[in-house]
């Protein structure tokens, strides 16, 4: 069995891939691609789909002059057509130390790997391009846009040996990414978003300002969402040196309240910046979660839930 295949088996969930492929991913906005594809481009060109007229200026190809308009209006107008292109999906995957966390279900890093591989596979399968950026405090590894089948393999290979260290500094990473990828791209940010919310959304804003379609996949462990462990527990900070011991029942209510406010703020900020926000619990099947999200998008209700 080829090596690639064996790696794919680890992080490629056929069931999830099948679910995503059945729905497919179509960008909500116009995208700029480098090749001809199936998605609407902001650029006009000469294709099948009529888009409108514009005043003829010297230098335009006279073949595109609409003579019928000339006869009626006495002006030289050229026909405009929609340009269809492919899109580039940037998968921004958090590999900071906090992604190690796991309690009963798999770690968030594993979950991110599964999600990344499935999305890359889906994107590449529909002849679009996928680019990948792994980051922690800064971008650690970047795979350029490619529609090759090896992209999922690369993700899998990297995630298998990801260092999972350092703090998350998602805001600066997204800001740099915004500068680098240009406009009208699809950006999947797969992270637990443990960091400064304002900084995070500064980066998100930069991406959104460039008309990039940003989808935030917020990975959380069920225990992080609802601290339901009642007994004595010692917590050791993953991205720091702090540690505390207490009775779970003593802090449960207060923690859930504070963390709920944080989640609510994440949702509110996402809505405000008009980006999609998808909360993924590592206790749930990510294929179902993604398929559900994609279905919602395709029904035109928007993904900003």
């Amino acid at each position: 069995m080829p090596e690639t295949t064996s790696r794919l088996i680890k992080y490629l969930d056929p069931d999830a891939v099948a679910r995503i492929a059945a729905v497919g991913f179509k960008p909500s906005n116009r995208v700029e691609g480098s090749r001809v594809g199936n998605h609407r481009s902001p650029f006009h060109g000469f294709a099948v789909e009529f888009a409108g007229h514009r005043q003829y200026v010297p230098g335009d190809d006279p073949r595109h002059i609409d003579w019928k308009v000339y006869y009626k209006a006495g002006r030289y107008m050229t026909k405009q057509y929609e340009l269809e292109t492919n899109f580039v999906a940037h998968l921004v995957i958090d590999v900071s130390e906090s992604m190690k966390f796991a309690y009963r279900s798999g770690s968030k890093a594993d979950y991110a790997a599964f999600v990344g591989v499935a999305l890359a596979h889906a994107v590449v399968a529909q002849s679009d391009q996928a680019a990948v950026t792994f980051f922690a405090e800064q971008a650690l590894e970047t795979f350029p846009p490619s529609n090759a089948d090896e992209v999922p393999d690369k993700i899998s290979r990297y995630m298998e040996h990801a260092p999972l260290k350092d703090r998350t500094s998602i805001g600066s990473v997204l800001s740099l990414l915004a500068e680098r990828i240009g406009r009208r791209k699809v950006v999947f940010v797969i992270s637990d978003f443990f960091g400064d919310v304002d900084a995070t959304f500064d980066g998100v804003k930069r991406l959104a300002d460039n008309k990039n379609e940003v989808i935030l996949l917020h990975l959380l462990d069920p225990l992080e969402i609802d601290f339901s462990y009642p007994g004595r527990v010692e917590l050791i900070e993953l991205e720091g040196t702090r540690r505390d011991t207490f009775e779970g029942r003593d802090i449960r209510d207060s923690y859930n309240e504070l963390f709920g406010k944080y989640l609510e703020r994440m949702r509110e900020e996402s809505r405000r910046h008009q980006v999609d926000y998808v909360r993924c619990s590592t206790g749930e099947n990510f294929g179902i979660t993604l398929a559900k999200y994609l279905n919602t998008r395709s029904l035109g209700q928007g993904g900003r839930t």
Binding site: F101, V233, E237, L238, R242, Y255, Y262
Partner: protein, 667 residues
């Protein structure tokens, strides 16, 4: 504050062990946590609440530990705030005379009582208890001067009763109902409270509102005490100048080996015999000493042990009335075939058995005997004097025996005419018909005290057993078939049947040991009381010819006298002795003339000075009795308050734990 069981505080360390194990073994989940920012924010917010609750939990655990420790260690306050009426009882039984480093147990009890008087702010009543509860300060008073004065005059009694009696008598009285506290100062030997069950029953009848405290004034575990239980003379009789056999029964009052002690006999205050003694744990033993009484008449006799912890039971008093002379009348009967110098033999035998000056020997014929006066005769020795009922000899001899005279009769035949004539009814039985020959031979050997006599020399032919004699009191001896019967008839007669002394038959029958044995037998039959002594519980005295016209007094040799009351008339007349009077030698005087003399002895019922068995007192303690040394004296109700406090602590801690448990579950 102090503790009844101070050592119990070490129990805290043991209590810490399970607690420590609990803490160390407690499971906790260790998680490397990503969302620490919110955990930290939560902890910051909840820190105070958690700290307070942890503090409360810690306090509850400490309360639990303190409560358990208090319950076990039983703390008490040296409180002087007791204001309620206090009933104080001081043990004055003889054992309270046991010596301490300074004074006696009673002295110490009195010191504690005086201390209590000084500290107690309420009223007090004081009683002493020997055999009965006697008022010292009969009613509750706050007059500390009177209390001190009366307590200072408390003296030992000569008799004792048990703890159950004390509690019963307290309840019978009217004072205890007002008492907020009853304190008994004593030594509390086990013989005082027995197995403790009865005490527990009695204490349970006292209300909890009248708590009783026993204060042990002497907690030494190793008190040395030998005691004399009884002194008596053996039945050989006592003759001037001749060693007497004085049996002294001694006992070890402790459950361990005694040290060597010296036991002495004093006659009229002068030591005449002594012997070293040493006893095992609680052992009793009879020691025979051989004092010599140099003259006839009454002699004061004391048996003394050298001093130990309790001196009152180291002495035993008695009076020995030494006969002036043994007045013997020998009667010669029919001579045998050959003339026999029986008179010589009898005299020689008696003379060897008695000192010369103690024998007044005279021999007469049967005719002279029949007409003579026996008033001045102690013993009649008859040889071959045959008589029957209604004969002049029998008419003389029977009243003589009835008034206590002694007789040794060597009878010629084997019929019982002589016995019948004297009112002795019996029959002859063979040795195998109820007489143990071996036992009999051993008894004869002991009886004869003749080193030359061997068991095989004793041939037992037959035995004469009288209807009122016990089989083992019939002693037979002889090598040629004579039958000797000692008659235990309550009359002073020794009859020797089937024997006619004649030459060639041996002079065994006139062996001095044999004659002395006969004498002893006569004396035993007469139930001779050589030692005039009582057991410390004498309440009345019977003497002949007591008349109401006379004044009777009891006078102690060491000083002091008591007027005696005559109760009853005629043969039922008796002198009533005081309920308690000190041990010693006492004379009973009738109009100033001595009528009797006897030794009055201490009661040794509570002389076992062994360590108190607290286990035996456990049932009483469960019923509310407080028991302990001096430190418990200050405990009283304060201890109960602290115990109640401990119980409250315990309940509070448990309630808190239960509350916290449900609170956690509710969350």
């Amino acid at each position: 504050m102090s503790f009844v069981h101070l050592a119990a505080l070490w129990g805290l360390t043991l209590l810490a062990v399970p607690l420590l194990l609990l803490l160390l073994r407690r499971k906790k989940l260790v998680l490397y946590w990503a969302a620490y920012e919110w955990i930290q924010a939560t902890i910051v917010r909840k820190r105070r609440e958690i700290e307070i609750r942890d503090l409360l939990k810690l306090i509850s655990k400490l309360l639990l530990l303190v409560a358990i420790t208090l319950l076990v260690a039983r703390p008490y306050l040296r409180s002087t705030s007791s204001r309620g009426p206090l009933l104080l009882v001081v043990d004055v039984s003889p054992s309270m005379g046991a010596r301490l480093d300074e004074g006696t147990r009673l002295d110490r009890a009195k010191r504690l009582a005086l201390d209590l008087v000084e500290r107690h702010e309420g009223s007090m009543a004081v009683y002493s208890f020997g055999a009965t509860l006697e008022p010292v300060v009969g009613d509750y008073t706050r007059d500390k001067g009177e209390l001190r004065d009366r307590i200072g005059r408390i003296a030992l009694r000569t008799s004792a009763a048990g703890a159950a009696t004390l509690v019963e008598q307290i309840q019978t009285g009217t004072l205890w109902g007002r008492a907020s506290r009853i304190v008994v100062l004593g030594d509390f030997q086990s013989c005082w409270y027995g197995d403790g069950q009865e005490v527990a029953r009695q204490v349970s009848r006292l209300s909890r509102a009248h708590p009783m405290t026993w204060i042990q004034v002497d907690e030494r575990p190793d008190v040395e005490n030998l005691l004399i239980r009884k002194m008596s003379l053996s039945a050989e009789g006592v003759w001037p100048g001749r060693p007497a056999f004085c049996d002294v029964e001694i006992a070890n009052g402790m459950a361990r080996d005694s040290a060597p002690h010296m036991l002495s006999i004093l006659v009229d205050g002068e030591e005449v015999s002594r012997q070293a003694v040493k006893l095992g744990p609680l052992e009793r033993s009879t020691v025979t000493l051989t004092p010599v009484f140099r003259s006839s008449g009454p002699h004061n006799v004391e048996a003394r042990l050298d001093e130990d912890a309790l001196v009152s039971d180291n002495v035993r008093y008695g009076v020995v009335d030494v006969p002036r002379k043994l007045r013997v009348l020998a009667v010669a009967g029919t001579q045998g075939v050959a003339p026999f110098p029986w008179d010589t033999y009898v005299h020689r035998a008696l003379a060897s058995a008695l000192p010369g000056e103690a024998l007044d020997y005279r021999s007469v014929s049967p005719i002279e005997f029949a007409t003579g006066n026996l008033d001045a005769i102690d013993l009649v020795v008859g040889v071959n004097v045959a008589f029957g009922a209604g004969s002049p000899v029998a008419a003389r001899l029977k009243p003589f025996l009835d008034r206590g005279g002694g007789a040794i009769l060597f009878l010629p035949g084997e019929n019982f005419d002589e016995a019948s004539a004297l009112g002795l009814h019996g029959s002859v039985v063979a040795p195998r018909q109820g007489v143990d020959a071996t036992k009999l031979a051993g008894s004869i050997l002991a009886f004869m005290r003749d080193p030359g006599l061997k068991a095989e020399d004793i041939g037992i032919a037959q035995s004469l057993v009288f209807s009122n004699a016990l089989p083992d009191e019939v002693r037979l001896c002889g090598t040629a078939g004579p039958v000797v019967a000692r008659v235990a008839s309550g009359r002073g007669a020794a009859l020797v049947f089937g024997f006619t002394p004649y030459p060639g038959h041996g002079d065994f029958q006139f062996n001095p040991n044999f004659v002395q044995a006969m004498l002893r037998s006569v004396w035993e039959v007469r139930n001779w009381e050589g030692m005039h002594a009582d057991e410390g519980v004498t309440r009345e005295l019977r003497l002949p010819d007591l008349t109401p016209e006379s004044a009777y007094t009891l006078t102690a040799a060491q000083g002091g006298s008591y007027n005696l009351t005559l109760d009853g008339v005629g043969d039922a007349a008796r002198l009533l002795l005081p309920s308690e009077f000190p041990p010693g030698i006492y004379q009973v005087l009738e109009n100033g003339r001595e009528r009797a003399r006897f030794g009055h002895n201490p009661d040794t019922a509570d002389s076992q000075l062994e360590v108190v068995d607290v286990k035996a007192l456990a049932p009483a303690i469960q019923q509310g009795l407080s028991f302990g040394g001096e430190r418990v004296l200050r405990q009283g109700s304060a201890s109960r308050q602290l115990e109640a406090l401990a119980v409250l602590f315990l309940l509070a801690a448990l309630l808190f734990e239960i509350y916290a448990h449900f609170l956690r579950r509710a969350k």
